[in-house]
Symmetry: C2
Subunit: 269 residues, 2 copies
Amino acid sequence: MHPTLVNGKPGDTIGVTDRGLQFGDGVFETIAVIDGRPRHWQLHMARLQRSLAKLKFHDRPDPDLLYHEAIGLCADQPRAVLKLIITRGDSQRGYAVPADAQCHRILRLTPWPEWVTPPVGGGVKATLCQTRLARQPALAGIKHLNRLEHVLARLEWDSEYAEGLMCDDHDLLIEGTMSNVFLIREGALHTPLLNHCGVEGVMREHVLETAQSQGIEVEIQPLHRLTLREFDEVFLTNSVIGIWPVQSVDEMQFPLGPITQQLQQAINR
Amino acid sequence: MHPTLVNGKPGDTIGVTDRGLQFGDGVFETIAVIDGRPRHWQLHMARLQRSLAKLKFHDRPDPDLLYHEAIGLCADQPRAVLKLIITRGDSQRGYAVPADAQCHRILRLTPWPEWVTPPVGGGVKATLCQTRLARQPALAGIKHLNRLEHVLARLEWDSEYAEGLMCDDHDLLIEGTMSNVFLIREGALHTPLLNHCGVEGVMREHVLETAQSQGIEVEIQPLHRLTLREFDEVFLTNSVIGIWPVQSVDEMQFPLGPITQQLQQAINR
C-alpha cells in the first residue's frame, strides 16, 4: 500500500496554494504504530480537536474517516510512525480564510526510527538551547505547523545530543524540541506549565495520568531553568520515544532513578 | 505560460515532505508586477537574503536563476502579483535539517487584486486586532512562513475593515496583518521599531528612503497603541497596495493629510 494518503487518495504532493505551506496554517500529530494499530488514538484525536478549535478551524476532518484511513495505512505494520497533518485548505493569496475553505488531510507512514531506544540502563544526553520560545498564549499547548523556533533550536547541535531543552524569554524551562520534560524531586513529579508556550504532548498527558494512578504526586507549574540542578531525575517523553531517561543536560548529571523506571515500566505495559 | 513554477518547472504541487508544509520552514516575498517587470526586485532580493540568513539556510537559491524565472513569468503582464516562496527543502521527519537538503523555490503569478485602490481622496477603515504578536527577536523583521498569528488576527473581521492593526503583548503597535503602519505628527514620520516582532516590508523600506530623500523627519521607535490618537495622519504600506491612507482605526478618525499625499505621489512616480 502507498504510505501516504492526501485527502484520502494515495499521493505524495499537495497544491502550492495549501495554507499549510503558505502560512503554516494547520496542525499535526505524530503517532506510534504498534502491531498495526495507532497507539493512543483517542488522546491524539482529542488533542487534534483542541488544536483545531484553538486555531478556529471552521471545517474539520471527520474523525471516523481519519480513523478509517489511519487503520488502513497501519495494517500489517509491526512498528511504524504515522504523521497526520491537517491544514485549513487552499487560499489563492492573503490571510483571509475563504468561506468555502475545506481542510486538507495528509496521513503519512514512515519506518520506525532506529534511534528511539536509548542504551539499556542508561539515558540520553541533552543540552540547553540558546533559541528561546516566544510567549504566545493563543498558540500555546497545541501542535501547530509554525515550528521555526524548534527548527532553529535543532540547528544548534549535530549528533552529540539526543535532544535540546528550550526555555522561554523569562528563563522558564518549557520543553524539548520534540519532547516534553519531566523532573523528579523528593519523589514528586514536576513538569512545566504550558500556558504561554510549548506543546502539550499526548505522551505527557498519558504519563501524568499514569503517575496519578500510581499515587505519585504531580506538580504542573512554571520551572526556572536554574532549578534544573536541584532535581534528582529527569526524563523526556513523546509518542514515539515513550520515556527517555536523561543522563545529562550539558555538564549536569542525572542518575536513572526509581520514579523514571517505575513510569517506564507502567507505560510500556 | 503556466502561472506557477516549482523548482523551475511548470506545476502546481509540492511534495508532502517539504519543510515549508511540515514546519513553515521557509520565507516568502509578495511582489508587484507592473508592465512585465517585478517592482523593487533588488529590495525584495535583499530582504529575502536577510530572511534566509536569519533562518540559517545553508542552501540558498541562485539570485540570477530566480530573476530569470521571475522575468519569464511576468513577461506580458501589465499588472499582476508574484509570490515567491523559498523552503528549506525536504525532510522525511523531525526538525533536524538533512546535510544534503536543497531549498525549494515556488514562483506563482496571480491577478492584480481589485481591492487595492482605495476611493479617490479617501482612505481605508482599519481596526485594532485582539490577537497579539509574540516577541521573538530570532524571527523579527523577516517574512517567514510561520504566519498563524496573522491568520488568527485576520479571522477577527470579515469585510467591514480593509486591514487590522496588531500590537505585541506589551501593547506596542507593531504592524497591520499584511502591511506596515506609519504615523505622522507635526510633520514627522513615525513607524514602529520591529526588533521584537513584525515584518520589515519592502515598501516600508522604500517609503523610509523616500521620506528621507524628501527631507521629512523620520523616527523609528516603540509606539504604544494608546498614542495612536495623538497622530495627525496614518497610512499603511505594502508592495502591492503601495500607500493606503487610513481614514479610521475603529472610532478614531484621521484626515487624508499632506505628508501622506506627498509620499503617495513620490512613490507612484
